[in-house]
Amino acid sequence: MSLRFQRLLLILFTLIIIFSAVLLILYNTRENVSYFYTPSEINKSDIKINKIIRIGGFVENDSFKKISSSSFEFRITDEKASILVTFNGILPDLFREGQGAVIEGMFVNNDVFNANDVFAKHDENYMPASIKEGLKDTGYWNKKYK
């Protein structure tokens, strides 16, 4: 075995060890690394009331209610479970029913989640506005896109 080959093996071996160490750490802390919980994860776990967490999912269709000019109520769903959210403040541009959203706040009781902050989540689809109109005209528009 030549010297350079030995050095190459040593480097690759070290890299594999480091990679597996870091990936093991990340795998075992994945719940803390995740930015938000989904509603069904919330239902399965016992999240404490009055602890600040983030939940993420889609804004349920026909659930958005405007209570006053800056106070809103809606449900966040992942199609398996849904959570009632109340919010006082300014909603981001992309926020609408059917759109992904991440909400930071806390449960005030077992059913109601009070939001301090609302972020709209953008999906990975990019489409010209004119095509949206065309799709709507022909009836091929996927209702989930809104």
Binding site: R4, R7, L8, L10, I11, L12, T14, L15, I18, F19, V22, L26, R30, V33, S34, Y35, F36, Y37, T38, G56, I90, L91, P92, D93, L94, F95, V102, D117, V118, F119, A120, K121, H122, D123, E124, N125, Y126, M127, P128, A129, S130, I131, K132, Y145
Partner: protein, 232 residues
């Protein structure tokens, strides 16, 4: 392919291709910006803000690509004793840092109107911030050793250790829940982006690539000269 590992061969090829690469990058930037601003449509959700993507995504790709190439050169330099790897890494680190910075700033400007926040500490944004810090550490390490031989090796090892961050940046959006959207363009599936928006994205990616190559050529040549003068 000798010019990729041999400084004097590199100098010959670099002199030959520098001007074409620079002109190509200028042409591609002109074309790419024309497409980005005038010849591509508004997005159905984001409106005009989608145009930030044509700067954000190429710079993100190139920040990762630059680091990946630096990792390869570190292995070459350490295992096969090819000094050109050290020259390459010293010269190219600031370019990668700038690409990362462009990516972070443009993403932040996009996040404010779209997400409703400049910055969040989700896995994707945090790992890119770490990538930027790694680039900065490489630059500072390159400036801070008396002994060049020791410095080069330490930096190369640091680059290898830091390369663990690359798969984390790439797959963070798949492994964890993040506010950042998952990849639109991956090799395995049809991209969920319209061709009219893919065109400016690809042109801009090549434009960024060419300006990166042009700056890298200048910096590597300077580095070779400064090493020669410090040896003699």
């Amino acid at each position: 392919m000798k010019f990729l590992v041999n400084p004097s061969k590199f100098n010959e090829v670099a002199d030959y291709i520098f001007k074409p690469v620079l002109i190509l990058s200028i042409v591609l930037f002109a074309l790419g910006l024309l497409f980005s601003f005038y010849l591509s449509p508004d997005d159905y959700q984001q409106g005009s803000t989608v145009r930030i993507m044509y700067v954000h995504v190429p710079s993100a790709w190139l920040a990762l690509l630059t680091y990946a190439i630096m990792t390869l050169y570190s292995i070459l330099a350490l295992a096969f004793r090819i000094p050109f790897g050290f020259i390459f890494n010293t010269s190219v680190a600031p370019i990668g840092a700038i690409f990362t910075l462009i990516c972070i700033i443009s993403g932040s400007l996009w996040g404010r109107p779209m997400w409703g926040t400049w910055w969040v500490w989700d896995a994707r944004l945090t790992s890119v911030a770490i990538l930027f810090i790694i680039y900065l550490i490489i630059i500072f390490m390159n400036l801070s050793f008396e002994n060049r031989i020791v410095r080069e090796k330490v930096v190369a090892i640091f680059i290898l250790v830091g390369s663990i961050n690359l798969p984390i940046v790439k797959f963070s959006v798949d492994w964890w829940n993040t506010l950042h959207q998952p990849a639109t363009i991956s090799k395995l599936s049809k991209p969920s982006i319209d061709p009219s928006m893919l065109t400016p994205l690809i042109i801009m990616t090549f434009a960024f690539m060419m300006i990166g190559v042009a700056i890298a050529i200048l910096r590597i040549k300077t580095e070779i000269i400064s090493r020669k003068s410090s040896l003699s």
